[in-house]
């Protein structure tokens, strides 16, 4: 501990070089932190979908609506607490870039199935009273500054009205929020009433979309999936039942092998920072050879000198790395506020562990050769350098 000032002084011996190296490290860890957070999202690490929710879709594709008549059979499967049906509406709010998902649902079923989201009682009553009523998540309402009572125009890309017009209008009657802190992952969604939608649309009547099941016990997921799928096997309405988490992951994976791309970039970033900080450390030791020899002369052992250089390298990597990681947390916060409809990406424990391991590994990798050089220094030779 008493050597901290010594290491600190050594680190700042060449201010400009240290600052540039630290900034380089900061940039690298800013990128590493952000990319790893994204990676952890794609590999399912930080998807917050532990609720016992399953999705039943048409085997052929989730874009093919399942008919409403399957409902009683699915509801009767043991272990299923409640069933909601959900048809993707595909509406555009003013501009395509304002994308957010909308679904046609039955309010009563919605309330029984999505227990993680809370809609105030009087707003729920209002939704049941109003056929054109719709509800939005808190996050979505904040994004567009909506208040209860607003009229929301949506142009459906999929469903024209009977007269061929695509412009639908809904009345916002409620805004739902977390039931417990952070529980409602559907806050970016918008829900309209199925009965109004089904009557109004030009074609497709009787199609339910997908079914969302709430299980009594999440450990029954596999058996429920098997039973549901067995009901409709070899019929034109074959189903595929999976947990909501698997459903979402499969969706993200369709974008491509993102994991591979992110890993590739991470390696490139890591390698370039290895060079920059390695160069700095080796220069730092090379310039200080006479000083290090003096340290040895006044009684520092070989081990201590090795430790001093490694400590300097560790200090440098940790300062730069932490600065970068903090920036990446900040950046992720900003991104999640942007109106892109990105799923919330956060730096979870995995990301921090990865970052800590990287800082440690990096400081060892760039510090070890200079440190060994310092350790093996012969005092006589070093002092006669000049």
């Amino acid at each position: 501990m008493k050597y901290v000032p010594l290491v600190w002084a050594a680190l700042w011996r060449r201010k400009a070089r240290t600052i540039f190296t630290l900034l380089s490290l900061t940039a690298a860890f800013l990128l590493l932190g952000t990319l790893q957070a994204a990676n952890s999202l794609f590999s399912g690490g930080s998807i917050n979908l532990s609720a016992p929710i399953m999705i039943v879709q048409a085997r052929v594709s989730f874009t093919s609506p399942l008919p409403m008549r399957l409902l009683p059979q699915i509801e009767a499967v043991p272990g299923v607490d409640s069933v909601s049906h959900s048809q993707f509406f595909g509406g555009v709010y003013k501009d395509v870039r304002n994308f957010f998902p909308q679904f046609a649902v039955n309010p009563e079923r919605w309330r029984r199935t999505f227990l993680e989201c809370k809609l105030p009682d009087e707003q729920y009553q209002a939704w049941q009273q109003s056929r054109t009523g719709a509800i939005a998540g808190r996050q979505l309402a904040d994004r567009f500054g909506w208040k209860v009572g607003d009229r929301i125009p949506l142009t459906s890309q999929i469903w024209p009205l009977k007269n061929g017009d695509r412009a639908w209008t809904f009345d916002l009657v409620g805004i739902f929020d977390d039931a417990a802190k952070g529980s409602c992952s559907r806050q970016g969604n918008f829900y309209i009433r199925y009965d109004y939608f089904d009557e109004g649309r030009q074609f497709g009547q009787g199609g339910a979309g997908i079914y969302v099941l709430r299980l009594h016990d999440p450990s029954q997921a596999e058996s429920v999936a098997r039973q549901v799928d067995a009901l409709f096997e070899n019929s034109p309405d074959e189903t595929k039942t999976q947990t909501e988490k698997d459903f979402s992951l499969n969706f993200l994976r369709q974008l491509g092998n993102l994991n591979l791309i992110l890993t590739g970039i991470t390696i490139a970033v890591f390698f370039s920072i290895l060079l920059v900080s390695g160069n700095t450390m080796s220069q730092a030791v090379r310039e200080r050879i006479p000083e290090l020899a003096v340290l040895k002369t006044i009684g520092f052992g070989d081990g201590s000198v090795l430790g001093l250089v490694l400590a300097e390298s560790l200090l440098m990597c940790v300062i730069g790395g932490l600065a970068g990681m903090l920036l990446s947390v900040l950046l992720l916060k900003v991104i999640s506020k942007l109106p892109f409809g990105f799923p919330p990406v956060t730096a979870d424990l995995h990301v921090w562990l990865f970052a800590a391991a990287s800082m440690l590994g990096l400081s060892l990798a760039v510090g070890i050769l200079p440190a060994l050089r310092a350790k093996n220094l012969s005092i006589i030779e070093a002092l006669t350098v000049r």
Partner: protein, 393 residues
Amino acid sequence: MKQILAVTWMNLRSIPSRTMTSLVVVIGIALVVGVLVAMLSMGKGFEHTLKGTGSESRALMLSAGVTAELSSYIDPGMTSLLRELPGIRRDAAGRPLASAELLVITEIKRGGGDVNVALRGVEPAGLAMRPEIHLAEGRMFKPGLREVIAGRAAARQFSGIGVGSRLQFRGSEWEVVGLFDSDGDAHESELWTDADTARSAFGRPGASAILAELDPAQPPAEALKALKVTVAADPRFQVDVLGERDYYSSQSQGVTDNINFITVFITVIMAFGAVFGALNTMYSAVAARQIEIATLRAIGFSGLPVMISVLAESVALALVGALAGAAGAYLGFNGLTTSTLGQNFTQVAFSFAVTPDLVRRGLSWALGIGLIGGFFPALKAIRQPVAEALRGA
């Protein structure tokens, strides 16, 4: 001028004496440019595939107001009317060259998961008017039978697609009876079957879109305009008419915009890191040349040649790095095939395309990094008082 050349040349020749620190710049920039070019080549490849789809002489009719075939639906009553419109070319037997096609999404296995693949029901005219489609293996599907032909890219990208393999859609089995080429365009990622077979199997009597060959009596642009006017003037139709090529070109926008955005984000941060690395290297290069520079100044060289020699060094290192990075991206990725979700929510296979334009973009980023990384050290080099610099050594 002569001074500038002499000092710069002398300096460039002395780079080998600073190999280690110079490598930091070269490799650092190579990595930035490599990542940049590789990422952008993905967007470029996707764009090439979509822009290469379709023909100037064909028009696509979609329901009004939609942006993609997937969300379009035209009633069976309307399809027969649209098909007969004037301005659509007719074949020798007098039948219109128009194909009312149904596009549905199916899920096909790939690795551990399922991916969305487009199944397109085409009418005989749809095959007749697309000369780019060639059957490469097997035979054509027969109307009325649950048979499909698969695009080459679909067969490569997804598991279990080959002549003779069987796929399960909506409770019944479909046989893959052939594979087709389509000049590497977006259709090569699709499965094709007979339109009526698809309509009855998927319970959708209408069409997603109608593809029509324009009457060759007029140049394509005018024929297209005329068809647009005809359709717009008839109140029975709620249909948009688009040039087929324009439609597919517009479909690449979303994906390439996303890729470009992410790439620039990553490159900016990596470039920052590289600039600081370059600054370190160039400051130490100037320090190593301290005596040389001071001597030059003492014997009468002005600041400019010295400054330019420093800048030339960092720019030269940056450009070498950029070329190495671009070459790496080319060797590692060019031609590599992959696929992503297109606008229709289905997988579109494409190949990474490292184009000269992308290499130029990589070079200009490197130039920027080199200039910034060299400028401040160059300034320091000429600001140093000569006497002090000579004594410092």
